[in-house]
């Protein structure tokens, strides 16, 4: 069993349901950056400009830098392969937020401890998919077992040629994106711009205005 997530870009409409739904399910306080964010990117010039919107959750890496840098064993990867934060052990050093190349690890403003997506462990225990997967109005998120050749996620990854973002970091993410080849085709430097946008994101309690 190797749980993973597929983001089908053709069905993401940038509606923020995953962002807000997650805060609602996990009771995150006002001002929290949240466990998933949207990247909203304009590639090319008007009127030939293309817009790309994609959710960036924790990539659930098999070689997670957050776990590697944590001196307190608070960032850990369980036997189920899910990366999470043990808030009892976390001292709030924020090293993991700097280590994550995806900017997916953030600090909670109320506890001053690290916070990240854990695929909604509470829901998984009840046999349910993560909240964002179930509420997504565009139905762009597919969750399931990457090891099971018969699983929907596996079939869809194979059919679409979906792949992870920023593979050069060699963290082996378990979050895949379908449609990156179309993004790449929209401009020679599109993927580069996307990856720079993701890595250049600085966790902050007041997200910047959307747009380009």
């Amino acid at each position: 069993m190797k749980l993973g997530l597929l983001v089908d870009l053709s069905r993401c409409i940038g509606c923020f349901a995953c962002v807000v739904g997650c805060k609602n399910w996990h009771g995150l306080p006002a001002g929290s950056p949240g466990r998933v964010r949207l990247v909203d990117l304009a590639v090319g010039a008007y009127p030939g400009v293309r817009r790309w919107i994609l959710p960036i959750p924790c990539m659930q890496c098999e070689h997670p830098p957050c776990v590697a840098v944590c001196r307190f064993s608070a960032c850990l990867r369980g036997v189920d392969g899910i990366v999470r934060v043990d808030s009892d052990r976390c001292v709030g050093c924020a090293l993991c937020t700097l280590a994550c190349p995806y900017g997916a690890r953030v600090m909670r403003p109320d506890t001053q401890k690290a916070d990240a997506c854990d695929f909604c462990r509470d829901r998984l225990e009840e046999g349910r998919a993560p909240l964002c997967v179930e509420v997504c109005p565009g139905e762009c998120l597919i969750f399931g077992d990457l090891d099971d050749p018969e699983s929907n996620i596996r079939k869809r990854i194979e059919a679409t040629g979906a792949r992870a973002l920023m593979r050069s970091y060699r963290t082996r993410p378990r979050v895949y994106y379908a449609g990156l080849e179309r993004l790449g085709a929209s401009s020679p430097d599109a993927i580069d711009i996307l990856e720079k946008t993701i890595t250049g994101w600085i966790p902050q309690s007041s997200p910047a205005t959307g747009g380009a």
Binding site: G14, C15, A30, A45, V135, E139
Partner: protein, 756 residues
Amino acid sequence: MTVSHKTESGSAAHEQLVPTLCHGCSYGGYNCGILAHVRNGVMRRVEGNPDHPLNRGRLCAKGLAATQWVYNPRRLTHPLIRRGPRGNGRFQRISWEEALGVLCEKISETRDVLGPEHILLCKGQASSWIGLHHMLMLRFLHALGSPNFTSWSPYICYGPQLFYHRLTVGGPTYARPDYDNADLILEWFTGGGQGGPARGGVETLDTNLRSVPAKILDRLGKGAKLVVINPQLIPLAANGRAHRWIPIRPGTDAALALAMIHVILGKGLYDRDFVSDWCEGHHKLAAHVHSCTPEWAETITGVPAREISSLAEEYATTPRAAIRVSEAPQKRGLQAFATAVPMLIALTGHLDRPGGNVWFRPAARLGFDVLRERVSKEAQEKVLGGNTFYVRSHGGAFAHFPDVLKALIHGRPYRPRLMLIYGSNPISTARPTDRVSEALSRLEFLVQFDVTLNSTSSFADLVLPAATRYECEDQPCLWENHLALSRQVVAPLGDCRDELEVTLDLACRLGMGADFWEGDREAMVRDFLRPSGVTLDALRETGQKGLYLTPQSGAEQRERYAAFFKRLPNGRVQLWNERLAREGFDPLPTYRGEPEDLLNTPGLQSAYPLLFSDEHSDALSHHSWMRDLPWLREQRLDPSVKIHPDTAAAHGLSPGDWVEVASPHGKMTARVEVFEGMRRDTVLGQHGWGQGCSQLGLPDRSIFEGGVNPNVLYDGGLLDPLTANSTKNTLVRLKKCPPPGSAHSGESHEPTDSGS
């Protein structure tokens, strides 16, 4: 009351699940199904109801912020009475007993001394249309004897366009896009599913709110093509989905529609059989649009002529092609646009055919008698603006917006004395802001029901704390053939009360108990539900699934032209409109532009070089609602205007700068959002701003001149002559400015409990 959400470890197993309907788009309508998680009497979190056919477990950001809506620190929790002059925002807490005592006294005094027509009732989108709230409020107003149902929405939003649509192609409602079968989808100045994106593709009255992404995406996945006509590249058009993006100048859509008709008629691409069998005025229209060439339209719309021609050809030659238009075009020149679009649909044979624009019929209608006959003949004659074609066409069922303003401000033909407002914020949403505020300040008594104080509250004499939908008891709602029950999730906060209960209570106190179920809410609900043939007890038993009625026979049948055209002159589509001609209006769609634009005011160009309009509603707010909820507000902290990077550079502006936006009519401030997917000559703002958000340390801001309200920029005097629809287009200039100070008068105020 703020609830801390430390439910991280608390498993959902300890929570009780209550199936109900979302409050997001309205609190009185059939909305998405929600499962609310409750623990110890507190609503902890929500998720979508997988058994509800509209959203199938999906939910949008607004619906998902439900707990912050209920436990918003800005919630009104006690009745408040104004102390001191209007607009100073000083209120004193009073009891319901005192509040209803004062209100009853004012109502009966007004009715008995001045006459019932002096009582106005204004209801907003918040309480929804057609449903239980709407019917009870109408019944209450009529039982008092007043004909003056006064809402701003029928003048701003969906109503005017629907009116023209029905004058042109008839039908019971708007002919809605049949997304399930379309091969070509035109999204014309819509938010593209940004209203309430979880709604599973079911279009209802308000197309923006009940929007449609999943259905569109399904269809695109099967090879359908998407055309987006919009000054900005909307999110729906992102991720490679748009086959064409047509960045049109805002306000010029009618010129595009007329040029498309020109191409379609000129090249013989219309449906000859349909036009000869079912349309009237084909030759008059052809002669009329003869000069509306794509080249002519290019100069107005900024869309290249060849693009216009090829779009017209593509639409006309794709057998299954659907158009969705913004439900709130808001134009002085509305007639041309709102009649030309249904003409396009009809001419090309896309009307009520699979994959085109089709009519749906509900299996039943819920409701009870709204007691129209209680309005005496004498009182009905005093309905404000009753002689206008718009009001006459609706059987005198409401008061005409410009006449209401005139009556209140100038006292002609009389000055109404009292207004009840349910779930509406006219100071923020209606136009022109200064006239509306002057009108409201002329009232002798204004009472407002709402969940929080808003911009209109400072004009109110009495503010009553409404319970949210999650705090109100059973309310049945119907969509198509699905019956669902909105259930109480938690007890009302503080002294909040259900508007329905308060209205029944008021009616009883005014001696009208016999007409109002003697105040028995459940008896009223049973009556409301009766036409469905389903009992309330049976509906309660259905849990989160709700109940499906047998669809009306022939509900799926298409091309029902004889039935749907029967109210049109000669039972035919009006390409040349006989009724409009008879009433002295232009019988043909003529492009006249907006009060200020490149066509009408070229002289203003040097001083005001940029086009301005505002977005109707988006994924993170509902007009002036919900901007104070942190989870939503965090995504966009301040009111913003979107501009192209070149426009920003030319003005020395950087993202996040504060900018003064000045039109010939007024000024507002906003933060600059720079976006490559914008026309270079266009600035797009957003309406409904003003609320602060205390949890994020954001202050209230003024919605008057110099504040954050785009409505002050528009010409509120030049209206569509028939429907009084007003423009949301003007010309502006931009200037970098310092961040504005926090609120002065106008926006909501913390209640001051100076008395108790």
